[in-house]
């Protein structure tokens, strides 16, 4: 059973098409990236998945069925712009929102203690939300989105506004969830941020899908025919290399069409050059995005 199956959804606001014939699916136990620039239609897509707004046409299936009250209980959601009841205490906020996901008070309390402890927020559990810093509030909202042990967690710009320590903490927790077999959807405009996390991605622009599939495959498809090299010794001319670009601390070798990285490595080793780093260059996601979108514009 797929965690999410979206087929041909469309949404317009006041004659402006925001999401245009979008289809994708997310498997269970998968970390999925929904990426695209600001205004691409990511949040609208998520809201349609969450049943917050209805698509003009097309279907959304969550955990094998149309979204209903019982499926909503298996769903965790961290909206892009965050807020909680300012006057309510941290623990009370968590328990109330957990209760709306069908978690009884006692289990909610136990689980909240565990998660607050894990995130180092336990000392703040009696404080009012308005007394917390922005980053802390975000951690609380993340706890709210996973406290009911959901099958599917959708996080809209999860790392925005977090310091490096909390970013690492969040990433670790996301991996834990993935290892428990949960499906996760991360939506962000900072494409490079989730490269290390996601198995598959959907890249959208102006509401349309521009790239969809396995992240490693996409990257290898868009890789430039070059290798990155850090070495000791004298390099000289290397057959098959048409250009050498010097970067800070390493060299990029652009290969001609007939040479493979393997052949280059053999040649370097046979010359007795000490190789400290040898890497097939793959472009970062935002570069791929620019290439894809640029091509679409031509």
């Amino acid at each position: 059973m797929l965690a999410v199956e979206v087929s041909h959804i469309e949404k317009s606001f006041a004659d402006k098409v925001v999401v245009d014939d979008l289809s994708f699916s997310v498997a269970q136990g998968e970390m999925f990236g929904l990426i695209g620039p600001n205004g691409a239609g990511k949040t609208t897509t998520i809201r349609m998945m969450m049943d917050i707004i209805k698509p003009d046409s097309g279907d959304v299936t969550i955990l094998g069925e149309k979204l209903s009250e019982s499926t909503k209980n298996k769903l965790g959601y961290l909206p892009e712009e965050r807020g909680l009841y300012k006057k309510l205490a941290v623990l009370d906020s968590i328990i109330y929102l957990a209760s709306l996901k069908g978690v009884d008070r006692r289990s909610a309390e136990e689980k909240a203690d565990e998660l607050l402890n894990q995130t180092g927020m336990l000392p703040h559990k009696g404080k009012k939300i308005e007394e917390l810093s922005r980053g802390m509030g975000q951690i609380i909202q993340f706890i709210v989105s996973i406290i009911h042990d959901p099958e599917l967690v959708v996080l809209d710009e999860p790392f925005a506004g977090l310091d490096p320590v909390n970013t690492e903490l969040l990433k670790r927790m996301l991996f834990d969830l993935k290892n428990q077999g949960k499906a996760l959807i991360l939506s962000t405009h900072q494409m490079n941020e989730i490269e290390e996390l996601c198995d598959r991605i959907l890249m959208i622009n102006h509401g349309r899908s521009v790239l969809y599939g396995d992240l490693a495959e996409i990257k290898s498809k868009y890789r430039s025919n070059s290798v990155l090299l850090e070495f000791e010794g004298e390099l000289g001319e290397v057959p098959g290399v048409t250009e050498k670009r010097t970067h800070k601390g390493y060299l990029e070798l652009v290969l001609d069409g007939n040479t493979t990285p393997q052949q280059v490595l053999e040649r370097l080793v046979s010359r007795g050059i000490v190789v400290n780093r040898f890497e097939v260059a793959t472009p970062p996601l935002n570069e791929i995005f620019l290439r894809v979108v640029g091509k679409a514009h031509e």
Binding site: Y77, E80, L97, L100, K101
Partner: protein, 404 residues
Amino acid sequence: MNKTLLILRHEFRHMMKRRGFIIMTVIVPLIAVLLIGVSQLVSGIAMPTVEAATIGYVDELGGFQQYTSQGNITLVRFDTPDDATEALVKGDIKEYFVIPPDYISTGVINRYTLEKQLAASSATTTAINNFLLSNLLAGKVPAATIARIEAPLNLVSTRLTETGAVAPEQGGYGSLIIPFVFSILLALSIIFSSTYLLQGLGEEKENRLIEILLSSVSARQLLTGKVLGIGAAGLVQVAVWAISAPLLLNLASSSIGGFVSTIQLPANFIALAVVYFILGYLLFAVISASIGAVSSSSREGQQLIGVFTIPALIPLWFTSLLMFFPDNPAWVFFTIFPLSAPVEAIMRLGVSEIPAWQLVVSLAVLVLSIIGILVLTIRIFRTYLLMYGKRPGIGEVIRNLRSG
């Protein structure tokens, strides 16, 4: 637990802890105490216990010698106006009046006083009036007749039923006071509750909590839970006011004590009052929710809701007209028009009777309006709750109602 109930409980608790709500609950009885105190003070100043006073008079016509003791006021005769003026300046008398020779044909009495007044006090006027009357009639009719002429009417009304028996409920001002107080409480509570509902929705909309809520519950559950939760808190508030009312009336009993004892409640009043209260509250709650959905901020919503709360207050403005012209067809309109119906119907119950058909139509229109607005609100709720910062035009709302 049912999710609607969870939201209801949360909203109720949240509301009971709100500082504004607690202040409002306490302050209304306090203001009532203050008003009663002020009115006692004012009426105490305006109507001092009538103290003994001496008034002079000059009889230029002749024949006004008897009946110089009128209650606490004693009348003293002077021969000339100059003598009277002298006594007035010395402070022997409070004021004096002159009966001129042509009094019988003109009725003019000239009064002289040192005080700056709007008019002669009613006690003085009555005393002079009775003094003149008694002297004019003296010897012509019996003393008992003179007393009757001074106060010819002591009206005692009794209302009969159609069978000719004495009706159990007699009407009069006494039966107006409870409906009047109740309708003021209803209007206040409608305004406060709809403001709180709007604020709550506006807040959730502004901090985007609404997205988390809607990813957990349906728009119908959210709206129903909110409306009922805040409504329950509103009922608690009114209950506090209602319980404090008898205590306050006791406080006030020194000034209007006799009046309180004449209070009678129409037989079906309590049942109808509760029904109208609940329906009236629900109507304004669903209106608030729909305004909360389409307005971009809670402040804007509060301006819009004013358009709807004013009709609820109209019956209160027209209280005195209603008392004097209880049969005007305008009241039928206000009884049936849903926005004014709750307050108007409760007030009319105190003044006269409402024909059964009007009550039935009024309640039916109220219930249908509530259901209709609720259905429409749930339809537009989703569309507009997430459109931040831009309020849709009327035409757009109507288009969305069709397609929503």
